[in-house]
């Protein structure tokens, strides 16, 4: 790795009397899952490079409650929401960025009614504005001659109407984009949502991620790009199932940008 990453916590900044531009909500996957941690770090490198003053909650962060809510445990969800909102409001947070579409959706759409009002960004939105403002630049040659297909995350796409921002990151990379037949509004789920990630699937013919990965592999691209740590896991497992890990790599958009910006 090029250089040590800098990850200040809110508590540290407060002690120094500083206020960050934006709070980076890391999320459970981003904090604990080995694959997702790489995405977290790639995004941190991008923010470090762009000189963004951000902070994380660190050990004060807790699950947003999304899996509980989708699974029907509204009590647990609202308990989590209330605790998180107390912490966030305590630090007078105004702006939040997160690499997880589930955290994004929950904090952006469901926290306001419970007393948590923040401007919430998905990391692809923040990276996109950094590119537009020239705060980071990417080497155009890095992905030249390669191809990619983008898998829409349900909680970014259909649930929140964000389809084009992630694609505009790919456009910045000078890589050939091949769309799956089912893309955008008709993009098929990876199979992780609604707390499915944490349980065995019900009886059926096959796993959802196997079916979705087949659609992605049909495009015969070098990369499958995702914007969600759970989609990433599901698609990676799917590629393994089809025994294609030698030819296709599943990467988060932040990782692709970090690579092209020579940060990895």
């Amino acid at each position: 790795m090029s250089e040590q990453i800098k990850v200040p916590t809110m508590a540290e900044l407060l002690a120094e009397g500083k206020v960050p531009e934006v709070l980076f909500w890391v999320g459970c996957a981003g904090s604990f899952d080995d694959r997702a941690k790489k995405i977290t770090k790639a995004f941190v490198r991008i923010m470090n490079k762009a000189g963004i003053e951000f902070a994380v909650l660190g050990t004060e962060e807790s699950c947003t409650g999304d899996p509980a809510k989708r699974a029907g445990n509204e009590f647990l969800f609202q308990m989590q929401a209330a605790m998180n909102i107390q912490v966030l409001n305590g630090y007078e947070i105004k702006k939040i960025v997160t690499t997880c579409p589930h955290c994004f959706n929950t904090i952006k759409n469901e926290y306001p009614e419970l007393g948590g009002n923040y401007e919430v960004l998905h990391h692809t939105e923040l990276i996109n504005s950094l590119l537009e403002e020239g705060r980071i630049t990417v080497e155009s040659g890095k992905f030249e001659g390669r191809s990619v297909t983008y898998h829409d995350a349900c909680y970014l796409g259909r649930s929140n109407g964000i389809y084009e921002v992630p694609r505009s990151l790919l456009k910045a990379l000078d890589i050939e984009i091949k769309e799956m037949t089912n893309n955008r509004q008709r993009g098929m789920c990876c199979g992780a949502g609604g707390a499915q990630m944490f349980k065995e699937a019900e009886k059926g013919n096959e796993e959802v991620n196997v079916a979705r990965t087949r659609e992605a592999l049909a495009q015969k691209t070098d990369f499958i790009a995702t914007g969600c740590p759970f989609c990433n896991t599901m698609m990676t497992d799917g590629v393994k199932f089809h025994e294609k890990e030698g030819t296709v790599k599943v990467l988060d958009l932040a990782e692709m940008i970090a690579q092209a910006a020579e940060l990895e």
Partner: protein, 447 residues
Amino acid sequence: MISSIIFILILAAAVGLFYRSARTIRRNIFLGREYDSETSTSEKWKTMLRVAFGQSKMGKKPVAALMHLFVYVGFILINIEVLEIIIDGIFGTHRFFSSLLGQVYFVAINFFEILAVLVIVGVVIFWIRRVALRVPRFWKPEMKGWPTMDALNILYIEVILMGALLVMNAADQSLMNMNSEDLVAAGLSKYDIGMNGTFYVSALISKFLGSDPQLLFYIERTAWWFHIIGILAFLNYLPFSKHFHIILAFPNTYYADLKPFGEWDNMASVKKEVDLMMDPDADPYASGAEEEEEETQTFGAKDVTDLNWKQLMDAYTCTECGRCTAVCPANQTGKLLSPRKVMMDTRDRLDEVGKNLDRTGTIEDGKALIRDYIRPEELWACTTCNACVEECPVMINPVSIITDLRRYLVMEESAPPQELNSVFTNIENNGAPWQFAQADRLNWSKE
């Protein structure tokens, strides 16, 4: 005179019967809990005009969309001709609008006849798609029996009605174009509307009907009565059919929830309890009376009466097209879950509850929507991906029902799948769905 009286009696009976059925459905829908979409009135109108009137969500399947447009426009406009039939029936007139419109009348009827042909084309193609090509979404398990028969009935009825309309016009124009003396001689002076003209489509049928005025008269009258009685019968078939969507599509899109699909309601009853836990100083009896009423509500839904009235209206609006099921990732990979079945089950159970109410005065019959209709195995297969919600042409939301049923299983029965119980415990104890300590949450930054 006698025929006017018979007509009025039939019309009154048909309208009265329809009113009764529609009122029952309305009553059933309002067995549901409160619902408020928080959408402004102008936004509601716009949505209804765009989605129901303008068919904006049909376009994703171009062939089906075009054929549906034929049938839809045909039926709306041909109703103008039905209005004339009703006026003629009541007052014993013949082609009442012709005296008002003059030659324009022929233009209008020719236009309707073209629409009638397009309706037939649309229906035939629908039939081919469903029966000959067997488009898979029409042959899922929940379509066995009545639902498939219902779908085919509608197609057959539409062809028969349009056919009767054209035969009626065919015989009638032969009579209208006879000279006045011949009509008077045959005792059919009513058919002399004082103008000549051609209805070009039905003229093709006229050739086969001959020129005997008496025979033409009987054909015209038979087709006329057949057509109007057919329409009134069809009207009374609607409340028992998926075809009821031609009415409910309008209010259902009007009242649709326009929030992002990812934004689910925060249950108010839960919020109250959480607020108390977070703030021990809060006065639990602050708004006493209201509170007690809420207390008796179950969390989530066990039966249809635990759903809100919009969810129940969704169920009656569903046209069983199966677009939702066709895009459902769980269904595509062979799981039991089918969002269409969720809607059909909700409607069938609500019908049953309504019948209980009529028969015994109570909704209780020892059954419920959960388990007797929808199995937990179906509910737990949903990834909440919202593909079904996105796809539905009449803005039905199957996920909201799935969620309310899950809420009941979790919060009232504590019966989620075992793995989810551990997820809940982990979130509660460690603040993450996995068994990692919250104290380790920042370790990644040092690795």
